[in-house]
Symmetry: C2
Subunit: 327 residues, 2 copies
């Protein structure tokens, strides 16, 4: 059965809301330990109980409180980011070596930042381990589009992921996208991804690419995400647009990750959204674009308000406040 | 001292968040009675205890539970919207006649809808009384702008409110704005307001105006709002843009409500935002515009994420799901 646009959002932002049902929400949290860092206030993520219980966490680096359901990195309160990150990395290498964690088979050797209560970086963590700890991860996504010369309606450059990819094989995707590593500015990350994934020129991107906002949602990972299911993925995605003129170069796949990149009309995109053909967190990038352009309106979409508020969820963990690198 | 953009948002969205501090949030709610309608699930708004206690609510229409802190309209469970609305109107006329409620001195003879759990209209309520009940109110706001022929940078048509207005006198405002009455479609309401407040032609609006999203926030009314302070105003504002070309007509005030309407540059708008010159819920319309256009970026604004999520707050009351009139 065709999905509604609300279904698409609801399947992505699928961690329960406390306000909707406090009991259900508390029940859901019982299967996780809160991830904390010694000396830092607040909860920074959630680790599934099964992950906490299936690994001999080094006692000099971690303390587990089974009653309070917390797992805390035991770095000294005044430790540097580098020192905490090295402590974390040692544990993660042992976890990967154990072979017990499917998601760590996708080891990236790329680090994601974890933010503290003032938006400062507290510790960095190997990218493939971020969902094990349920920390906020940040990404960038770009929609390149052309405008019809007659009626101004947009056509979107949409990628189809390679059918051999581990995650979301064969699904539709934004023109270019990627994760935001520690120390990277969103704009720089977006430019890199657009050059690498869509073969676009730096000059074109610097002239025509612009940031148009940010979406946020709290996802519980399912089967297509790869790795263990039930891992938490609270995410922030900075959104970029790039309007291409007739004389501009055409986005092209550079490597085998992308099967093809071609132009889609608004109606084709709406059809593919309803058929569930998009990678979930790329689907909502197109929904947000269509809302910003007045192509999805309050009059045509009954759950317009809910779609917009759900795509800008205030996450229950600290988020970044500035992008000065800590290094 | 100059405000930051985050301060501007924080002063508007100033009802505490449960997740930040459950105790403070519960404490804050103790000064209100939950507004309910007999036979309808859930809380539809909040009435300050002082309002509940200072009026002899007709016993055949209302039941007050001082322990549970609820005030419930006693319409039959299967009552029509018209029947509930008439019951509400009778009470409100008595409240206005008592002279005890400053906010009812601004009686509008215009009704706002109150939504139930499935987004359906449950009851309609005189506009000036909506904040007494703390129900969600919906509005429309439009920014008309031109683009610089050389660098494409926008210039905004900004209204200054008359210095004799009761609410927010002399403050800056969007090009046109208004409340959404019962049975009105957002687009129709926006067109009406733009014709009435900015003297714009229907033809221009139909060709160039587009809906670009919605913002939502939970406001506790202060002194400049007029009427009692401490009243709650959870609000949804549908946002519209209208790009004006050189040959288009110029927005002009039609009545004495608007002192002037003139073109402002981006830097002038940012300066006025920081000086607190805008009506609070118009200020954020310009912040949202500047974010959508890439003129406020994650690299320049440290609290970019918080600004965006706070401006799309998920309100703790049912919101509209469609705009078919119930009448």
């Amino acid at each position: 059965m065709a999905k509604t646009l609300f279904d698409v959002v609801d399947e992505l932002d699928n961690f329960p809301y406390y306000e909707n049902d406090p009991d259900l929400s508390q029940e859901h949290l019982k299967v996780y330990h809160a991830f904390k860092v010694n000396g830092i206030d607040g909860i920074l993520g959630y680790v599934p109980n099964a992950v906490v219980e299936s690994f001999p966490w080094p006692k000099d680096s971690w303390i587990i409180d089974s009653t309070a359901q917390t797992i805390t990195l035991l770095s000294p309160p005044d430790a540097t980011v580098a020192a905490r990150s090295e402590m974390m990395a040692q544990t993660l290498r042992q976890m990967a070596a154990s072979g017990d964690f499917k998601i760590l088979q996708g080891w990236r050797d790329e680090r994601f930042p974890v933010y503290g209560p003032c938006g400062e970086v507290v510790v960095e963590i190997e990218r493939s381990a971020s969902a094990l700890f349920g920390i906020i991860t940040c990404g960038v996504q770009m929609v390149c589009y052309t405008e019809d010369v007659h009626d101004g309606s947009p056509r979107f450059w949409i990628a189809r992921r390679s059918r051999s990819k581990q995650t979301y094989p064969g699904m539709l995707d934004s023109t270019a996208a990627g994760g935001l590593s520690a120390g990277q500015l969103p704009r720089d990350a977006m430019i890199c991804e657009a050059m690498e994934e869509a073969s676009l020129d730096l000059g074109l991107l610097e002239a025509s690419m612009r940031c148009v906002g940010c979406i946020s949602y709290f996802h519980v990972r399912g089967r297509l995400a790869g790795g263990e299911t039930g891992l938490l993925q609270p995410e922030l995605e900075y959104l970029y647009e790039c309007k291409m003129r007739a004389e501009d170069q055409i986005p092209k796949p550079k490597d085998s990750e992308v099967e093809d990149l071609r132009l889609w009309t608004v109606d084709q995109v709406l059809g593919a959204l309803k058929n569930g053909e998009f990678k979930p967190n790329s689907a909502v990038v197109f929904i947000d674009f269509l809302i910003r352009r007045g192509l999805i309106t309050p009059e045509m979409e009954p759950r317009y308000i809910e779609i917009i508020t759900r795509l800008h969820r205030r996450l229950p963990f600290p988020s970044p406040r500035r992008f000065n690198s800590s290094r």
